[in-house]
């Protein structure tokens, strides 16, 4: 009966990428629309569902576009981290850092700008799942970069600030997201300046927001509300939720561990101690967080292992450092790590290279 009227009418408005994946969906209802067009259009229910279809497609397409961008960010950030790992023990660390700054900068003005465009006028939490992995990897890379250049942990404000872009043209929010691309290179903030510090004028005034509403608003870290930024100040941004930032910081400690171990090989015997201090501070803080997410707890346990490894390294250095020639120390560490638990932080990360 009426069952057959509907699905003949579809199959003609097919666009968007994600549908390639939902193959079985296609198989079942993707019948050619030779006949029954007008028949299907008659039903008020089908009419209503056409509206829903548009909305769902719009959302899914946007999600998929953001997801792709996020993957690119993940890959670029991984490369960035490899680059930064070479800073210790290199002849010209300044040059490598400058190169890293350039890469970070490029990420902002390309991929992140694109995401900001996609998110403009949207509830960023709706699409957070699409870009969370890329964002975390990026935060890991960027905190690592700032740690190497400033020897301290970069705060969320600074990271967020760099992901705020001026609104280019006052185009009504559209799902296309590619129409204003030519303005990309100009759309950067002060992110080329690696030494920018906290007392710098902020593009957005959220200091009183921080003090006043911290009890009612769940954003006491002073991060900007996505809406206020994009509408009032003619900017758009990639919102960085504090929890994402913390997950990124947790990943960053893995890099610290690697750096500490590698640096000994390069004859840098103080680094493990300095790094251990930093990791300890982070580790202490992480263990204090109660009602944290499952994800955060998982990362905390990995962090603990990394810390232990660095502490063992410090111990070995103190006990045997004076006895062993420097070039042999590396071997000592390698064997310590192997005999201990499985310290490989990369095991928990996504299989990108």
């Amino acid at each position: 009966m009426a069952t057959s009227t509907g699905h003949r009418g579809r199959g003609r408005r097919n666009k968007g990428d994600w549908r390639d994946k939902s193959k079985s969906n296609q198989e079942r209802d993707g019948k050619p629309s030779k006949e029954g067009e007008s028949h299907a259009d008659d039903s008020p229910i089908v009419k209503a569902f056409r509206v829903f279809q548009k909305e769902l497609d719009n959302r899914n397409d946007r999600f998929e576009r953001i997801f792709k961008l996020s993957r690119d960010i993940t890959i670029e950030s991984k490369r960035l981290i490899f680059l930064l790992q070479r800073v210790i023990g290199s002849d010209d660390p300044e040059k490598l850092l400058a190169e890293a700054a350039e890469k970070i900068h490029e990420l902002h003005s390309t991929k992140f700008l694109e995401i900001a465009k996609e998110l403009e006028g949207q509830d960023s939490y709706q699409y957070l799942r699409a870009y969370t992995s890329g964002l975390q990897e990026y935060i890991e890379a960027v905190t690592f970069y700032y740690y190497l250049s400033e020897q301290r942990l970069v705060n969320l404000d600074k990271i967020q600030k760099q992901l705020i872009f001026p609104k280019l043209v006052s185009v009504p929010v559209e799902s296309s997201g590619t129409d204003s691309q030519e303005a990309g290179p100009d759309a950067k903030q002060d992110n080329s300046d690696p030494s920018c510090s906290d007392d710098q004028p902020k593009p957005m005034d959220h200091s009183d927001d921080n003090a006043g509403n911290s009890s009612t608003k769940p954003e006491p870290t002073g991060s900007v509300s996505p809406a206020g930024a994009s509408e009032d100040k003619k900017t758009m941004l990639v919102h960085v939720p504090p929890s994402e930032y913390m997950l990124g910081v947790a990943d960053f400690t893995g890099e610290l561990m690697r750096m500490a171990i590698n640096s000994v090989g390069a004859g840098n015997l103080d680094t493990p101690r300095v790094v251990a201090d930093m990791m300890r501070v982070i580790h202490n803080a992480f263990t204090v967080f109660d009602n944290a997410s499952r994800e955060l707890r998982k990362k905390t346990s990995v962090l603990r292992q990394s810390l232990q490894k660095v502490e063992t390294a410090c111990y070995t250095l103190t006990v045997r450092g004076s006895e062993i020639p420097q070039h042999m120390l590396t071997d000592v560490f390698t064997s310590t790590a192997a005999s201990g638990e499985n310290f490989n932080v990369d095991d928990v990360e996504e299989p990108y290279d």
Binding site: A2, T3, L128, A285
Partner: protein, 225 residues
């Protein structure tokens, strides 16, 4: 490392505020769940209509109970910061779906047609689109409709038992149209898609009931579309 410490203190505050808000939301959604159960209990009577109450009366009673839901949604909406709907929406997703299901059921029983998003929104005092404020997510709306078809297929069976032979025909036509509607959507491989896959069993059940009636001449041929 003072500044590092500050970073973590801030984050702890953030976590605390988040936790507090979730607690508040939980209180409201608990009341919502309670209300949904009450309305559902009222509507369960449709499966034994012999008790004398008319369908129109039932619908009226149930619809009036939505007034309390309106108030609860107002309370909930006040708690959610702007543009953070989807940060917390998991907490009221299921109860919203049940509200949609109940509203859909009422409208179908009363008018024999599909409830619109606007009607559901008006009934609950929320916006239709995200841009206009607190709303019911489209996924949840559709999920509610799918839950409704399940209830309707049950009603088709029970209507026959109590001698109402016209109802199953009406239900069968409606569910089929709904099925056609859902086929218009390009569903991703998610929860909605999974639930939609169950719709065909409801359609089948309704068709079987209509078949049984037709073959015995209990419904006239003019009922066929």
């Amino acid at each position: 490392m003072a500044s590092t410490q500050d970073i973590f203190t801030d984050f702890q505050e953030y976590l605390n505020a988040d936790h507090e808000l979730r607690e508040e939301i939980r209180v409201v959604t608990r009341d919502m769940n309670q209300l949904v159960r009450e309305i559902q209990t009222v509507l369960q009577v449709i499966h034994q209509p012999a008790q004398g109450t008319s369908m129109a009366e039932l619908c009226k009673t149930a619809e009036d109970m939505f007034g309390k839901g309106k108030e609860l949604y107002r309370q909930l909406a006040e708690k959610i910061p702007e543009n953070q709907y989807y940060r917390y929406s998991d907490m009221w997703r299921f109860v919203s779906q049940r509200f949609v299901y109940l509203a859909g059921l009422i409208v179908f029983l009363r008018d024999g047609r599909l409830v619109t998003r606007e009607e559901v929104a008006a009934l609950l005092g929320v916006a239709v689109q995200r841009e206009d404020g607190f709303h019911i997510d489209l996924d949840d709306f559709l999920m509610g409709l799918l839950n409704m078809t399940n209830e309707l297929s049950r009603l088709a069976v029970n209507a026959v038992t109590s001698g109402d032979y016209e109802r199953p025909v009406q239900i069968s036509r409606f569910v089929s149209q709904l099925d056609a509607g859902f086929r218009v959507l390009n569903l991703k491989n998610d929860a909605l898609r999974k639930r939609f896959d169950g719709l065909k069993y409801d359609v089948k059940k309704c068709e079987e009931v209509v078949y049984d009636l037709t073959i015995r001449g209990l419904v006239g041929a003019h009922n066929k579309d």
